[in-house]
Amino acid sequence: MQQLVTELLQGNRRAAARLISQIENDDPQKTDLLKEIYPHTGRAYVIGITGAPGSGKSSLVDCLLQQMRSDGLTVGVIAVDPTSPFSGGAILGDRIRMQDHALDPGVFIRSMGTRGSLGGLSRATGETIQVLDAYGKNLVLVETVGVGQSEIDIVKAADTTLVVLTPAGGDSVQTIKAGIMEIADIFVINKCDLPGSDRTAAEVNMMIDMKNGESWRPPVISTNAVSNIGIDQLWAALLEHRGYMEKSGRLLETRRQRVRRELTEQVEYLVKKRIWDRVKEKIEFNDMVEKIVQHQQDPYSTAHELLEKIKFYNGIVGEDG
């Protein structure tokens, strides 16, 4: 077994931190490391937190950490912030709100940039969850980017998803993206001290009643993270949802789907990688592009031609692996 993985399993913080970096950086060893980590995963319960910018996600995480720790649970936190599409850099500032927990050995916080991923998570979020799981954290909290749209990747990674809203300040809940309504297992109306909070809660409840036919009806919890209001109820709701997931068999189903997706993705990733590795070795790809641009060829036949050249149809693609 690789040294870092051994140390991770012994609970070494530095090993956890370094492993995450190696995975995030697509280190050549990455796949081998993940292979070794995998048998030690599957124990942590994953909670996703999503919502618009400024809705107070980080403050909620801070409050939840307090609760979880006083219940004796250890927690890993993954806080995702956007990577600038222009420079490739990022400012990761979510942990500012959580720094009171920085010295708690039962908490491990990691900030990540999206690095080009568009669904609200970073590219390596899923794999980082595995590292924190194997590291022995009971819970993993994932805070999404929070740009307020199309952040639905979180449901693929999380067992329970919180959607954080704020009193809409004049706007109706109707304007909240439809997509985000459907992914919530629990709704949180944060900053409930602001005017319009009750109305927002009522509107969300109405929308749930209109759409929800499932056996789990998402509760709507009002909180004010800044003054620690409603956190008990939120934590109780989280525990209740987890109980529901476990007893109803939904957890197993969710995870089965996740594995199916991961396996599919992994296969596709490997196939693609092989193809493009071979293309790089053998094919004058740019020449092909030029010919298509000049209308000497069409893209459809050219694609076949390319695959033939790398002997894809003969099964050669997989031969050196």
């Binding site: 530095r14 931190a17 370094r18 970096s21 490739g88 990022a90 400012i91 010295l103 916080i109 990691r110």
Partner: protein
């Protein structure tokens, strides 16, 4: 397929709240393609060192404008070493006299000291060179 990025912790140890420099530098580093983790204000040396470890950063940049740099920097350096982070680049920015800067460099507590008015490019350039030169 290696997509390594330089990760920098911008930290505000001590009690002063002057974060203009820290924030301008953080933006400058981001615009130079680095990932910047910002601790927020009023951090203890222990919080800074532990954050550096969890975030597995290549660089720790301390911004201190309260005059406490001669106490805080050596403590943070020691804690980083205790965490096994001997190779992390430790930079100090703020109101630091030349004499203090020389002492921090000589004692190995800091790899470089930047005082008010340094151009951003100089800081990003320094970091890039130091990290890529490894």
């Amino acid at each position: 397929m290696n997509s390594r990025k330089i990760r920098v912790l911008v930290a505000k140890p001590g009690l002063d709240g002057h974060d203009r420099g820290a924030k301008v530098v953080a933006r400058g580093l981001r615009d130079a393609g680095m990932e910047v983790i910002y601790t927020g204000l009023h951090q203890t040396p222990e919080q800074v060192a532990e954050t550096a470890l969890q975030e597995d950063v290549d660089v720790v940049g301390l911004s201190i404008l309260s005059g406490a740099h001669m106490t805080l920097t050596p403590r943070i350096k020691k804690l980083l070493q205790k965490n096994g982070m001997n190779d992390v680049l430790l930079l100090v920015g703020g109101i630091v006299s030349e004499e203090d800067a020389a002492e921090l460099l000589k004692s190995g507590c800091a790899d470089q000291v930047f005082t008010p008015g340094e151009p951003l490019d100089k800081i990003t350039g320094y970091i890039r060179e130091a990290i890529n030169g490894r």
